[in-house]
């Protein structure tokens, strides 16, 4: 068990390991770890660039079980293929399919986990050149291999189709 002082950030890697073990699983999740980190510089000022947005939030489906706000964990709301929706409309995206802190926050404000409206405002003010016509949804809870070999290349391809020159990624 971690013994971190209360002001330290939550040690999620260690805590998830302990949590799984306490529940009787002997194969805790193996979080990705890399020494080398790729880096691309922005090639132009952001005020002239086209920006993409990627989220792990899920499209609301009224036919599935409770998706909140405040819903308990709901694996039915998971998705396993990259999705894309137009950036011109305000989508109804929920986060009941992921393990967020349901005690201290309640998923009752889309803008708190999906910044499209804020990005649109920055675009109107000229801080961003333009937003891509679509944003993209990234599946969660997959094997690292599936993310690396399937989902990440799919998101890259869609961002390229959109002409994205940079991207904001928001995991829940």
């Amino acid at each position: 068990m971690d013994t971190s002082p209360s002001r330290e950030p939550i040690p999620y890697v260690e805590r998830s390991r302990s949590y799984y073990l306490a529940q009787g699983y002997d194969n805790p999740y193996n979080w990705a770890q890399h020494d080398e980190v790729p880096f691309t510089r922005l090639s132009k000022p952001l005020s002239q660039a086209r920006l993409g947005l990627v989220t792990t939030a899920s499209i609301y489906r009224p036919d599935l079980a409770d998706q909140g706000p405040g819903a308990p964990y709901n694996a039915e709301a998971k998705f396993y293929r990259v999705y894309s929706l137009p950036s011109s409309e305000r989508p109804d995206l929920r986060i009941s399919h992921v393990g967020y802190d349901r005690v201290h926050t309640h998923a009752d404000d889309l803008d708190a986990y999906f910044p499209l409206a804020h990005l649109q405002q920055f675009q109107r003010e000229g801080r961003i050149g333009s937003l891509t016509p679509r944003f993209h949804g990234a599946p969660t809870n997959r094997s690292q291999r599936t993310t690396v070999e399937q989902d990440a290349p799919e998101i890259l391809a869609r961002l390229r189709e959109d002409g994205a020159e940079a991207a904001v990624l928001v995991p829940i």
Binding site: M1, S6, R7, P9, I10, Y12, V13, R15, Y19, A22, Q23, W31, A32, Q33, H34, D35, V37, P38, F39, T40, R41, L46, G52, V54, Y73, A75, E76, F79, Y80, R81, D101, V103, H104, T105, H106, A107, D108, D111, A112, Y113, F114, P115, H118, L119, R127, N141, T147, V148, D151, A152, I155, L156, A164, A166, A167, V168, L169, V170, P171, I172
Partner: protein, 122 residues
């Protein structure tokens, strides 16, 4: 999402992650990361606090332009609460055997739902 970020960077698209699980993101290793010491579920700022959200998203835009090397993490200046005891509750181990057993039943049930869904969608 950190793995997606790495793939985009490798292929010429600069990225910034806005998030809260600092050790998970930094262990994976990403180019740019705007981090708030918040509960998971509101990486862009406190629900209802549009000024804070705008500030955090703005910091991500700033970082896209200003970072000169990978693993650049910027911590936002916001505190979830002066009392940090919320950090003890998430994936808490301070549960009775009975509570843990109940959680495991629900966990296994959700895992099975996810498995069936994954098989039907893939």
């Amino acid at each position: 999402m950190s793995l997606v970020s790495r793939h985009l960077e490798e292929n010429g698209i600069p990225t910034v992650i806005i998030g809260a699980a600092r050790d998970i993101v930094e262990r994976c290793g990403v180019a740019r990361f705007v981090w708030s010491d918040f509960p998971l579920g509101n990486p862009c700022g406190r629900p209802g606090d549009k000024a804070m959200q705008r500030s955090i998203v703005g910091m991500a835009l700033d970082l896209l332009e200003s970072a000169t090397a990978p693993r650049t993490t910027v911590q936002t200046p916001y505190e979830w609460s002066p009392d940090h005891s919320w950090k003890k509750d998430f994936w808490s181990l301070e549960l009775s055997g009975e509570q843990l057993a109940r959680q495991k039943v629900e966990f296994d049930r959700q895992k099975e739902i996810a498995r069936q869904k994954r098989e039907s969608e893939c």
